[in-house]
Symmetry: C2
Subunit: 528 residues, 2 copies
Amino acid sequence: MSTISISATLAGLCLLLLSPTICSSSKILVVPLDGSHWLNMEVILKELHSRGHDITVLRSPQSWYIPKNSSIYTSIDVLMLEERDRDYYNKLVQDTMQCRRYPTFIRSFCNRHVITSMFTQGHDVLARSAASMFDNTVFMKKLQDAKFDLMLTDPGLTTGVLLGGYLKLPMVFNARWINSGDGHFTIAPSPVSYVPVSVSELTDQMDFVERTKNMLHYIQAVVEQYFIINPSYSELFKRHFPPGTDLLSLQHSADIWLLRADFVFEFPRPTMPNVVYIGGFQCKEAKPLPADLEAFVQSSGEHGVVIMSVGTLVSALSEEVTEAIAAAFAQLPQKVIWRFEGEKPSSLGNNTLVVKWLPQKDLLGHPKTRAFVAHGGTNGVYEAIYHGVPVLGLPLFFDQFDNLFRLKARGAAQMVEPQSLTKENFLEALTDVIETPSYRENIKRLSKLHRDRPVSPMDTAIFWIEYVIRNKGAAHLKSAGFSLPWYSYFCLDVVAFILALTGTFIWAFVFMCRILCCRRSRRKTKAE
Amino acid sequence: MSTISISATLAGLCLLLLSPTICSSSKILVVPLDGSHWLNMEVILKELHSRGHDITVLRSPQSWYIPKNSSIYTSIDVLMLEERDRDYYNKLVQDTMQCRRYPTFIRSFCNRHVITSMFTQGHDVLARSAASMFDNTVFMKKLQDAKFDLMLTDPGLTTGVLLGGYLKLPMVFNARWINSGDGHFTIAPSPVSYVPVSVSELTDQMDFVERTKNMLHYIQAVVEQYFIINPSYSELFKRHFPPGTDLLSLQHSADIWLLRADFVFEFPRPTMPNVVYIGGFQCKEAKPLPADLEAFVQSSGEHGVVIMSVGTLVSALSEEVTEAIAAAFAQLPQKVIWRFEGEKPSSLGNNTLVVKWLPQKDLLGHPKTRAFVAHGGTNGVYEAIYHGVPVLGLPLFFDQFDNLFRLKARGAAQMVEPQSLTKENFLEALTDVIETPSYRENIKRLSKLHRDRPVSPMDTAIFWIEYVIRNKGAAHLKSAGFSLPWYSYFCLDVVAFILALTGTFIWAFVFMCRILCCRRSRRKTKAE
């Protein structure tokens, strides 16, 4: 554990021990998003529970990740999203891979289209289930009577946003990023010239063509927000909310946005004062490995080990791809630990241990770990940064391309896209990541910067959640710009008015000049 | 001392005690701005000195506030600004008061004009003195050989910015705000629709007319920056810097901006990740008063005391105004402590103690203090917020109108402008501030919010200064937008291209339709 890390952790400990205790018995209503997002939320809930808060979690009856029974919260079952099985996500991965066959300029738009299709279906279901929840007056009365002090939700799932707005609760968002819609009207101004739109696979350094691409992505995102996502909820808003309410207006009523982002990874972008960065808040120092795994790791000798995991999408890679990966692994001097489900590849080498689950954080923090083969999910990326392990990325879906692209732009990762993966190019890229010192040096530098902050991201998150409870919101940190119509926000009305006024003056001036000239020339003519 | 305040202070103490000690012997070059800005810088320097840093301060030989000899720093005398006496500032106050006689819409533009005139003179002198400093090769060699780790400067004085850029040092700015120039290219996007331009006397809630006014102020500020301030330095840049360098490009090379702002006072606005808010960092709990002053304060009984100070501009009020103020004070049941220079007003009451200097922070923190009559300088405003004392503002000059306007918008202050001050309206406003509970309630609420932060503003400032030293800059927190030309920053080139392309497509479509229609009608005619 580095000096900086010890400092931040101990300072955070001091901060939390000394924090005002006035919210020790607050009632927090939590609407988490399922899947890997839940893993993030759960870490925060554990911390809130340990600080004496009373937590109620809304979950879908057949939730994939969120347990019904827990020692840290009370759960309430509510139909939210139709549960998706792995096949659904595997299909999305396949669709995304089809997109990757298009030319570079086009493929990100195709990616976005796949996501939009998923969102469109999702929002329809979310709107219908929220409507049936609001219609259930007994249930809503129960929620109202519970007198919660706070709504803590992931805005990736709109149920929490809608419910928080309906119950008029102070709201804290635990959000990944602005995945869709209009950053201008939720987080802060997002100049298209240097803020790459999500899924665009661009950096903050763009030439003219890239800025044009980014602008088209921005237009696509805005069209999605206003013409696809918002209309899904129009009936719901008409029936249950005051006129003029829409999804964006509820989103920008959030008191604090806890963004799972950090600028060692994300490109610097503007934000409003109610946006707090907590990227990597789930990371912890590594715990010792189970004895058998430790023995396997130690058997790697000086070469060390390579870890591979594609998270939730563990079964999304085709047999052809896994065979190529296995064959490449077999040629490495390193040992490999691979999180894998399904039939083992025939080309698997003796150096490769295939497991159904692995203690990812603890393995990444092991001094013998040389590289991390990952799909580029946000959690894994931050864990790699925290522990300073270079990454070979196999992006499958959604923001994973963007995530790995960012890490690659920092010189801390290589990428091989599954649809063009062969044994040779995978082996070459992996050997490059392991043997070229710059990858390790760069991610170690990112790790040092990431850990160098006044308060740890987790303590920051807890501070701001309790801040909102203590102060019943954070109205003074919210942008006044969000309440303006778009043309006023961008001052187009003012610009039009000033231009019209200037135009009129110029016209009047020219008109006067002409009259004067005509008179003079008439006089001249007369004189002649 | 409230629980929250104790928490933040102790947490900060923990943070600083535990912070990495790798910068304990760093060499910091400081170029402070004189006057009240120095008071701010000095507080930080004391803290840095106590943490073992080696500090060198550049000062003007006849500096007004900055001592030549100090136990916390070594000073170097360099001609920077021609020293101004109080008469100079009193003249500016008089000019500003002339402006206040204009209609509301116009007076702020006139105010800005007064400031611009001051700036124009100042920048000419600064550019000339910087040029002569850069020409002094022996002196510059000495500075270069000193191998400083950091330039800490107030960008209100350009000397530090120029020198930091010339010596290629990591830079931390200790800045009040974006007083002039283009916030878009220094701090972050500054949408004119809800970010009131400095000196505009607007809030973040603007109607169409106010937004037009703000836009005109923005244009005025940009014209100032590019056509008045920048040209002062063009010769200097040509001779001593690489092509393309200007004042803005040096300003946006700052690694961290420590902004003396806090959102209990300022309106929420976007900022980049390298902007850190430290408003009120100079505030401390009150120390006991000297015995005679304490006796005077205690003699006020249940009515309490009123404090009046107009800071550095202590002699700027006309005799007519001070007579009216003294007469109004005489009618109060409160006792009054007034920082005053010159001949005592004849109407002075027995309840008023006139002093040449007063322990402002300690008086504001005294439980018997009922109101603070102040000119609205930033330091005084934050001290009033910190101690929760309502304010009656007498704005004299520059940003003081804006400062008091903000406090008034929060319901924590009243304002009387000196040029229209009478005994009656001053007494009425002061009685209102003292007797109407909402002023005290509002400023107490601001005080509570201001003190409720994870780390105290002073500890935050020290953390980020040492962060820049430790990491030799903070490049990953700086906006990529600043390197773009303005038309690319605002994507005007991209918008023009997309519009042209769309236009061409529409034209081609219409053209094709016409051809097809013509052919059809020709065929029809033929068939007939």
